[in-house]
C-alpha cells in the first residue's frame, strides 16, 4: 500500500496543517483526508503544490509499504 507521510514532512518544515492547506489551496478537511490515509487518489497538481510549499520531493511524502 501507499502511505502518505505528510505529518513527518510538515513537522520538519514546522508548518501547521491550516497554513499548508491555505498555501496549497485545498480545504483543511481535504488535507486531513490526505493525512489520515483515507484518500483514494492524489492529483498531480496537489502533489506539485505540496512539494513546492514543503520544499521536498514526492518520494519524501509518498512511501510504498508491503501489506
Amino acid at each position: 500500500m501507499i502511505v502518505i507521510n505528510l505529518d513527518v514532512m510538515m513537522a520538519k518544515r514546522k508548518m501547521s496543517s491550516g497554513e499548508l492547506a491555505q498555501r496549497i489551496g485545498i480545504t483543511q478537511a481535504n488535507l486531513s483526508i490526505l493525512k489520515n490515509q483515507k484518500a483514494k487518489a492524489v492529483r498531480l497538481e496537489t502533489l506539485d503544490a505540496i512539494c513546492r510549499n514543503l520544499e521536498c520531493q514526492p518520494g519524501d511524502i509518498l512511501e510504498y509499504r508491503e501489506d
Binding site: 485545498i26 481535504n30 488535507l31 483526508i33 490526505l34 483515507k38 484518500a39 483514494k40 487518489a41 492524489v42 492529483r43 496537489t46
Partner: protein, 153 residues
C-alpha cells in the same frame, strides 16, 4: 441551486404532475364505491357479490400502494430540487417505489380473478419496475463514482 435550468423545470413539472396524481388517487379512493361496481357490473359483466367484494379489495390495496409510491416519488423529487441527487437516500426511495410497483403488479394479477382487464395494468407496472430498477442501478454507479471523486484530493 444548480445552474441547469432545463433540469430544474423538468423537476418542477414532474412535482406538479405527482401532486395531481396523488389528488387523482384520493378522488379514486373517495369515489371507490361508485367506480368498483361500475367496473364489475359494466366492464366485467359479473353480477355476483364475490366479484364486487374481491375487486374492491384489490382496488383499495392498489391505491394504498399508489400512495406510498407517489409519496416516495415526491420525496425523491424534493431531494433533487434541493440538489441532493446522488445520495443513498434516493436509491432507498427508488427501492421503495420498485417494491410498491411489484406489489401493485401482483395485486393486479390477483385482480384478474374478478376482471381480466387488470392484467394490462399489471403488465405496465411490471415494466415500470424494470425501468425504476435500471435507474436505481445507474444512481448506484454514480454514487460510487462520486465517492471516488470526493476522495481524490
Amino acid at each position: 441551486m444548480s445552474k441547469v435550468k432545463n433540469a430544474d423545470n423538468i423537476i418542477r413539472y414532474t412535482k406538479i404532475a405527482t401532486i395531481i396524481f396523488i389528488a387523482l388517487v384520493v378522488v379514486a379512493d373517495v369515489c371507490g364505491f361508485i367506480i368498483t361496481p361500475y367496473i364489475v357490473r359494466v366492464w366485467a359483466e359479473r353480477y355476483d357479490d364475490f366479484a364486487l367484494i374481491f375487486l374492491s379489495a384489490v382496488y383499495y390495496v392498489g391505491t394504498a400502494g399508489a400512495y406510498v409510491a407517489l409519496f416516495s416519488l415526491y420525496k425523491l423529487l424534493n431531494n433533487m430540487s434541493k440538489d441532493i441527487v446522488f445520495d443513498k437516500s434516493n436509491t432507498k426511495l427508488m427501492k421503495i417505489i420498485a417494491i410498491c410497483c411489484v406489489l401493485m403488479g401482483i395485486d393486479c394479477v390477483i385482480g384478474t380473478i374478478a376482471w381480466f382487464g387488470t392484467i394490462y395494468l399489471g403488465t405496465i407496472l411490471f415494466f415500470m419496475v424494470l425501468i425504476v430498477l435500471c435507474l436505481r442501478a445507474v444512481f448506484e454507479k454514480a454514487i460510487e463514482m462520486k465517492d471516488e471523486l470526493d476522495l481524490t484530493i
